[in-house]
């Protein structure tokens, strides 16, 4: 386990991609919450949290994902989670969050599923 978390933010046409790498837990979840505060979203945009390189996520990590969901909702944007590991997908299913959070196998698929807001 790496125990540390690296977050890379990228602007894409659909909105923002936050790529997480490493461990999302009690001591690193604050990093994600801090980045969220600095991530401005427009109505109709998409916030993608890419978990392809995320090795570990505990309940504090899940709480940070809920914070991301709330952050997107506040701006009337949407949240998409991409490429969760089997264990994380199971954790999301157990928590019942999989019915509220949109899950995609890849960020490309998440962006393809996004429809731009009508002007």
């Amino acid at each position: 386990m790496t125990r540390t978390l690296t977050i890379t933010a990228t602007e894409v046409p659909s909105g923002t991609v936050l790529a997480l790498a490493g461990d999302l837990h009690l001591h690193t979840a604050g990093q994600l919450r801090d980045i969220l505060k600095k991530t401005d979203l427009d109505a109709g945009q998409q916030l993608i949290i890419d978990m392809k390189a995320l090795d570990f996520c505990d309940s504090s990590g899940i709480a940070a994902l809920v914070a991301a969901y709330r952050h997107a909702q506040k701006s009337r944007a949407t949240l998409a989670l991409t490429a969760p590991s089997a264990r994380l997908a199971r954790l999301l299913a157990l928590s019942g969050l999989d019915r509220f959070l949109a899950l995609y196998p890849t960020t490309a698929e998440a962006q393809a599923a996004w429809t731009p807001p009508s002007p």
Binding site: R33, D58, A67, G96, L97
Partner: protein, 442 residues
Amino acid sequence: MTFTSGHVHDAASSGEGFDEGNPGFTVPETAADLLDDNAEDLYDNAPCGYLSTYPDGQIAKVNKTLLGWLGRAREDLVGRLRFADLLTVGGKLYHETHLAPMLAVQGRLDGVALELRTADGGRLPVLVSSTVKYGRGGRPLLIRTTIFDATSRHSYERELLRVQREAEKARAEAEQARALAEVERARLQRVVTTLQRTLLPPTLSAPEGMEVSAYYHVASADQVGGDFYDVFPLSEGRWGFFLGDVCGKGADAAAVTSLVRYTLRAAAVYDPDPVAVLNNLNIVLNHEYNGDDPRFCTVVFGIITPASSGFTLGLAVGGHLDPLLLRADGTADYISTRGGLIVGVFPDPHFATTTVHLAPGDALLLYTDGLVEARVDGADGESDARYGDAALRDHTATLAPTTASDLVEGLTGLLTRFGDGLDDDTALLALSVPTPPERDDQ
């Protein structure tokens, strides 16, 4: 080619005659000039003090270097003072009681540290070495003494001592800080233990005819865990129980745990329907933590009512691991409760519900994720392997049929075997209905 013997003769005529047996220097003048060195000049201007005394201590000869250090004229010393007169009072005493006798016996002294008194009343730390020159029949003729200025060495030693003292002081301070940190840590651990205890029920009040047992494994002595459980009486013929896990750890999580526990107990009194209880908890948490630091919990809440044989358990589950049912026939299976949402994050949640009949010989196990998420050695060297649902079911099946206390005891042993692999808090709560004792009419 000329010789520079004149200087040698000067030295010889000045008293001691240290060139005895020396035929003189045969160094070419040009080279001598170049080196600007010869016996007399070396004697007088050597980088150390030279002193010759007669056996009674009277000074016979002294070089310029030493005179310069002492700030005295040659005529004040030669033939007037003894070597001991140049020393401090303590040094003089030491010279008379130790050095002089030692010199008489051994014929030499090596590197003795003494202090000379200078003309201006100062003290000059020196290192003194002496040899005795003997005449015919072994009679001592002269004592030749070399004196090194030990000021720099003295200050070096003083510096060394100062550094050593500072290091000792620093070490003492570090030791004190460490001891203080130790005290602080012990105090923190006492607070954590106390806090943890207040978050867990002192006793579990099970209905008659039901056995309950619980265990709490604390993963960290420094941080309060977020697991919780309780079994408590409600109205006549009705009991409530719950087990769950608050996200996070530490003081913040402890505050949530406390809120969750009291809300669950109060809500159960207000409306004992398990879903209504979780809805109430959801409202409280969602209201309390609706900002950018959400707090939630996973929980199994149940109402116990007596049945004709055993008990009926009505359960509502929010995002928690499936309870495990160990039947009297020796089977162990999960009770599927999927679909329930974690409590506290959304305003209008759905919770899974189910009803379980606990007959004599049956046992129900509720547990938190520390148990199934414990790290184990994976098959085929798989890294980061976890104990998992299947292993837990298979293991408990070997214990079934069992009682609540035996089940908890068996699983406590399992937790112990996990060792360092158990890195999260783990709570266990087991409910069982004892098998009536077999009648022995004989």
